[in-house]
């Protein structure tokens, strides 16, 4: 969560085990052996070129009190404007840095919860192929939860890879999308998961929402 890095003073406390929200992300980066850290930050900077082309020289530093930070140069700033730290990065940039780092970090199964948050939809569309490219060498299993139309319109996503969570009055039913013969036929006809499966996961009776608020 970008806010945890931008405003650490507001989130003091022991935090959660395994740090699922990235509160200690900067310490994690700083603790990584130098060679590995440098090569990962270089790889992240290259991947970021698509989204933030003006950001260069991404690196880690420690301030005078020993607290680690991320720094980068923005080429469109005036020369000599100095380097920017993580509290000046956009939420989307910080999320992408955290996302890319996590993808490069280890080969254990990875759970990503709504990775589309704060990102431009044009970037979100590219996430499925990006996940594929990054796990291809490691054969790492990645679980993604999402509501994103853009992400799910990638026609490389098979119905057998998607578990739909359909809410009803009794609870939530989890179904592998391709188990449904309607969905299977529609997907095989060239429609996307976004078109075929996503609408089924909307809460029932949603059309009454505006009435209930009046």
């Amino acid at each position: 969560m970008p806010q945890l890095l931008k405003h650490p003073e507001a989130f003091k406390g022991p935090g959660l085990s395994d740090d699922p929200f990235g509160k200690n992300f900067l310490e994690l980066v700083a603790r990584t052996p130098e060679t590995k850290r440098r090569s990962r930050l270089k790889a992240i900077e290259e991947a970021l070129q698509l989204a933030v082309p003006q950001l260069i020289n991404l690196s880690d530093v420690k301030d005078e009190t020993g607290v680690p930070h991320l720094e980068a140069t923005y080429t469109h700033w005036r020369p000599g404007a100095g380097r920017q730290r993580e509290d000046q990065f956009s939420d989307g940039t910080l999320r992408l840095i955290g996302l890319f780092w996590t993808l490069l970090d280890g080969d254990a199964p990875l759970l990503l919860e709504e990775p589309e948050l704060s990102l431009h939809t044009a970037i979100v569309k590219k996430l499925p192929s990006l996940f594929y490219r990054m796990q291809r060498k490691r054969k790492r299993q990645i679980f993604v939860s999402t509501h994103s139309w853009e992400m799910l319109q990638d026609k490389g996503i098979g119905g057998e890879e998607v578990v739909m969570l359909e809410p009803n009055n009794e609870g939530t039913i989890a179904t592998v999308a391709s188990k449904n013969s309607d969905i299977r036929k529609l997907l095989s006809s060239g429609l996307s998961i976004a078109e075929v499966a996503l609408p089924r996961t909307a809460p029932p009776n949603l059309e009454q929402l505006s009435l209930n608020l009046e």
Partner: protein, 204 residues
């Protein structure tokens, strides 16, 4: 020579990459403004008349769509616009999909996929489902990474592999021999000829 500003309206990422490559290859000073669409043909069809109106108002717009199962390009254009396309609207239809324009570079695509050129179709505009043909050709590829990226896994409902656009984007940007492709696809040749002579007219 002053720049030629143009907005793009395309079905998907691959179409956009192909169009950008063609615009670059013309050697003319095309300057791409907005990119509309990339969400399939339904959106393009629903907006085609708006773009024709924008063209009449002085905006130059390049609309590329796939013919898919429609009988012929003139019929599709007439159905979508219900009028003559304005001279500022470059309305091109890939027969039957933009993949046929890639297949038209037989040697280049065969080399990229690592397959023999003899299995490449000679008239890709005549193929009923060029995308499926391309996927089937990639199935024969000796290059595992390419094969796994372009071809869906066995038993999958997906119509393409997990990095289809990424791989074919690499091909379009770095390997596609456009000159060779022009000779193999009349619909590509038609689009190219128009791009080479297009001159927008400005509203008074």
């Amino acid at each position: 020579m002053s720049p030629i500003p143009v907005h793009l309206a395309v079905e998907d990422d691959l179409s956009e990459l192909v169009i950008r490559r063609l615009l670059l290859d013309t050697g003319r000073d095309y300057s791409v403004g907005g990119v509309f669409g990339r969400g399939g043909f339904g959106y393009l069809k629903s907006r085609a008349r708006n773009w024709n109106a924008a063209a009449a108002a002085g905006k130059s717009i390049l609309l590329l769509t796939d013919l898919d199962h429609h009988p012929c390009p003139p019929g599709l254009i007439e159905e979508w616009l219900d009028a003559e396309p304005h001279t500022n609207l470059i309305f091109r239809v890939a027969v039957r999909e933009v993949e046929s324009w890639l297949l038209a570079d037989r040697d280049g695509l065969a080399d990229f996929l690592g397959i023999g050129v003899a299995v490449m179709p000679s008239q890709p505009d005549q193929i009923p489902d060029p995308k499926q043909s391309l996927v089937n050709l990639a199935r024969r590829s000796r290059r595992r990474t390419l094969r796994e990226s372009i071809v869906p896994r066995d038993g999958s409902t997906a119509v393409q592999g997990p990095d289809y656009n990424g791989c074919l984007g690499d091909f379009v940007r770095g390997h596609w021999n456009r000159n060779a492709a022009l000779g193999g696809s009349p619909s590509l040749e038609g689009a190219w000829s128009r791009l080479m002579v297009f001159e927008p007219t400005w509203a008074a």
